[in-house]
Amino acid sequence: MNQSGSLACVGLGMMLGAHVSPRSRTHIERADVVFVLVSDPLVELWVQEMRPDARSLQPYYQEGRSRLDSYNEMVEAMLVEIRAGRQVCGVFYGHPGVFALVPHKAIARAREEGFAAHMEPGISAEDCLYADLGIDPGRFGCQHYEASQLMFYERRIDPSAYLVLWQVGMAGDRSLARFSTGPAYRQLLVELLARDYPMSHPVIAYEAATLPITAPRMDELRLSDLATADLRLQTTLVFPPAAPLKRNQRMLDRLAILDRTESNQTESNRTIVDVQ
């Protein structure tokens, strides 16, 4: 690296005071310039107590304007300070690299321009979800999709694994200019999901707690309820498996043959060693 400016994108975790890592905190305290984008106004005030000069990225959002424009401006705002030779810290809620375009883009752009840039992980909503709902993603496998992306593209859902859908509150928004969509949009999502799940299938509407004085939302709904349910920007939907795991007998048979071959090979090697 041949330039003096730098960027650290750090995660605060989800809950005020509970999740921030020592390294992230040090970056916040020592940076020349701090930008902040968080999901709770009290969390923003917390960051501003740590750094009264922290610059909120909130003003870049505008209803009716493409979020992509806002994202590009957020990235550019950070780059301007980096190019001026400053140590910049981008503070984001949760994990700055999970379902987050802006930190990834900012780091990529900074590196392209020859600046040092890195990410400090944080505790994401996904991490909180596993803890609060008692789900182990390794038990049956776990698929994660951004809800609109699931609608825009041909994807294959595996109903024998968990399914987690993010940003469901604005599912189906093609404009990128809204922060919520209505029941008609969600009904299309329900119809899509009904190809793999019965309408009576349980679905958990989850929202991680962002303050130590609030509790996570963990409302059990049915797939048929989703079109009219209260789904917000921060709501995540969790679908438990709808089908049992199906054994892949062909692969298991091939593995058994491989096991036998390797076992026989080991035995013959041992015999050769014994003879020698």
Partner: protein, 70 residues
């Protein structure tokens, strides 16, 4: 402690029993309305009293950078 936000940070670090929480809130040197909001765990009122934003937006992922361009 003189800051409701500082108290929230402490409460985030160390989970308090309901009794300890109430006792600690009563000891804070803060405005009575802030104290009441903390006792009632009323985040919206506390935010209003502290001058926080009324609304925050935080989506930072685009499902498709080309969508809507057609």
């Amino acid at each position: 402690m003189t800051s409701a936000i500082g108290f929230l940070e402490q409460a985030g670090r160390n989970e308090l029993s309901p009794a300890q929480y109430a006792a600690d809130v009563c000891l804070l040197e803060i405005d009575d309305r802030q104290r009441q909001a903390l006792l009632e765990r009323d985040a919206a009122t506390l935010n209003e009293l502290l001058g926080g934003r009324r609304r925050v937006l935080f989506a930072i992922l685009a499902p498709d950078e080309d969508v809507g361009q057609d």
